[in-house]
């Protein structure tokens, strides 16, 4: 009896965390599904049950689909630069003999990840600005006037300009994590490869890549999941414009709910974001679990 009481008392350690996460993370998630079946004006307080109407509207909404496409584009480009690019870069850095250079380069590349996406977004808003931004001036100076554009002001380039900023901001973070993973590879493995006379490229393919694949898998999932939650940089740089060409699901949710006062519709978008991110997380769990068994 005393043992049971004591074990139950032990729960006191986890109760604060459970309550916080339960009330402010899980509960809203459940409520959100309910809200997505309402037509709901938050200012007048009018609520009306409309069933799956919000979802059928969503599937017919071209801006929702272009937002989804932008998230997808974000994911693809980020995987190229922040997973594969970062892995290559980390391997390059770790191949440098001087410890001081290795550390300095890793630190320099990381700086943009320490500053906020708001500062980075504003900074690149000005970098891309046609009148005062250095980007167009630099293109003109080297005779590439063709690239003298209003990067954020036209539909064809705005999304790429935002994604470009985000690569600048984020690649150092994943490079740092890959560098740590590479440092954990036992040096005998590289030594053995060197004796066999294998060159650096083969060593990368046959030693580095297979031995950091757990990190590669994790970074891929984190990157995709992050790409479907993009919000800050788009809000700061274009707020979804011009002509909704840079809307992503997060900003479209915000605009639908908080600007167009259609909270049920916003909740429906939120449910879809939830389904997508949950799917990615499940895939991640499945992949890591399967690997553990293999080893």
């Amino acid at each position: 009896m005393r043992a049971i009481v004591q074990r139950t008392l032990g729960l006191a350690w986890v109760v604060p965390a459970l309550v916080l996460v339960g009330v402010f993370v899980y509960l809203p998630l459940v409520q959100n599904i309910g809200f997505s079946t309402l037509k709901w004006d938050i200012y007048s307080g009018d609520q009306e049950y409309v069933g799956l109407d919000n979802y059928t509207k969503l599937l017919d909404d071209p801006i929702f689909w272009s937002s989804f496409g932008n998230n997808l584009l974000y994911a693809v480009i980020s995987i190229v630069f922040q997973v594969f690019g970062a892995l290559l870069l980390a391997a390059l850095i770790e191949s440098i003999r001087s410890d001081r250079w290795r550390r300095s380069l890793r630190a320099i590349y990381f700086i943009p990840s320490a500053i906020s996406l708001t500062v980075a977004g504003l900074l690149f808003y000005f970098m891309y600005e046609p009148n005062l931004g250095p980007l167009n001036h630099a293109f003109q100076a080297v005779g590439l006037g063709l690239f003298d554009q209003s990067w954020l002001g036209q539909e064809s380039t705005a999304m790429y300009a935002i994604i470009g900023m985000s690569q600048w901001q984020g690649f150092g973070y994943s490079t740092l994590l890959f560098a740590v993973a590479i440092q954990r590879i036992p040096s005998e493995l590289y030594g053995a490869a060197a004796i066999d006379g294998t060159g650096p490229i083969r060593r990368f393919i046959h030693v580095t890549v297979p031995l950091v694949r757990e990190m590669t898998g994790l970074m891929t999932m984190v990157t995709i999941s992050g790409a479907f939650q993009v919000f800050n940089e788009v809000m700061v740089m274009t707020s979804g414009g011009p002509n909704n060409s840079t809307q992503v699901m997060g900003t479209w949710l915000y605009r639908s709910g908080f600007v167009r006062n259609n909270f049920g519709y916003a909740a429906a978008i939120a449910t879809l974001i939830f389904v997508i991110t949950l799917g990615i997380a499940m895939a991640q769990l499945w992949v890591t679990r399967r690997r553990r068994v293999e080893w």
């Binding site: 032990g10 630190a107 320099i108």
Partner: protein
């Protein structure tokens, strides 16, 4: 044959260094440009973007400070400090309970807390707004404190748990022999032993809270409760085209976290890689 290889090797090394240093320039130049612009006048800003400031005065910093940045900075510091303390303690308690104490439903509770890692803040946004309006906490410091804590407890618990799980069992047994209760064992023994991971999680939470934008934008308005990331965007929209002042504000927002990273880099990297490595 050997000669040719080493010649190729030299070429490869030259390319590698050109690439690595070129990338460093791409990273550093925009930051340098930002700092320089904080010292320029508006006319200089619209002139040659590559020019240096004529007069290195702190006028723009003063203006930024008086136009709200002092308020934003105060709020940011307050929110960051309080949410860091609460998050790290709540998470350390939870991690201790999950790893060193026999409690019922341990697996289910672990899954529930760590499962929060998978949930995006955007998904909970609409119900949270309604919830905080009902509680009367909308547009207040409390909204940010609560949200920053609740949404970071899963990640912070995840990192601390990975560390505490590896501390030797004998530590708890020795504490029990001394007649120390759980409470004393936590404060006197386990927490001090976990100092490296506590340091990492503090630094990671500070980076998060200082830079967070979504909740800060949706849950606060008016300069009394706005943090720097949101404050900067209002500085931009309120004061028209006095851009150098905005640059000064950006520098004020960026410098603390960049310094923090430089001094705490070792801990940040170690904490992340220890947690994720498991």
């Amino acid at each position: 044959m050997v000669k040719r290889l080493s010649f190729l090797g030299v070429i490869a090394r030259v390319f590698m260094w050109a690439f690595l240093l070129g990338l460093a320039v791409i990273v550093l130049y925009p930051l340098l440009w930002m700092v320089l612009n904080g010292f320029k006048t508006n006319a200089e800003l619209f002139g040659n973007p590559f020019a240096l400031p004529v007069d290195w005065s702190f006028t723009n910093y003063q203006k930024a400070w008086n136009r709200g940045v002092s308020d934003y900075l105060t709020t940011s510091v307050l929110v960051t400090v309080t949410s860091t303390i609460v998050t790290v303690f709540v998470s350390a308690w939870a991690a201790y309970g999950l790893t060193r104490v026999t409690i019922p439903f341990n697996k289910a509770i672990t899954a529930l807390i760590l499962g929060g890692l998978m949930l995006a803040p955007t998904v909970a946004l609409v119900p949270l707004v309604k919830m905080f309006q009902a509680m009367g906490l909308y547009n207040s410091f409390w909204a940010l404190l609560i949200l920053y804590t609740a949404f970071r407890v899963p990640f912070t618990t995840f990192l601390i748990r990975a560390y505490m799980i590896d501390l030797p069992r004998e530590v708890d047994e020795a504490a029990e022999m001394d007649g120390a209760g759980r409470w004393t064992a936590f404060w006197r023994i386990i927490l001090p032993m976990s100092k490296p991971i506590i340091t990492s999680t503090v630094l990671l939470h500070v980076l998060f809270a200082w830079n967070e934008y979504l909740f800060a934008m949706v849950f606060t308005s008016g300069s009394g409760v706005q943090t720097l990331p949101v404050g900067l965007t209002s500085l931009m929209s309120k004061h028209g085209t006095d851009y150098p002042v905005v640059f000064a504000g950006m520098v004020i927002a960026a410098v603390p976290v960049v310094l923090l990273f430089f001094f705490g880099q070792r801990y940040i990297v170690k904490g992340l890689s220890d947690g994720i490595g498991k």
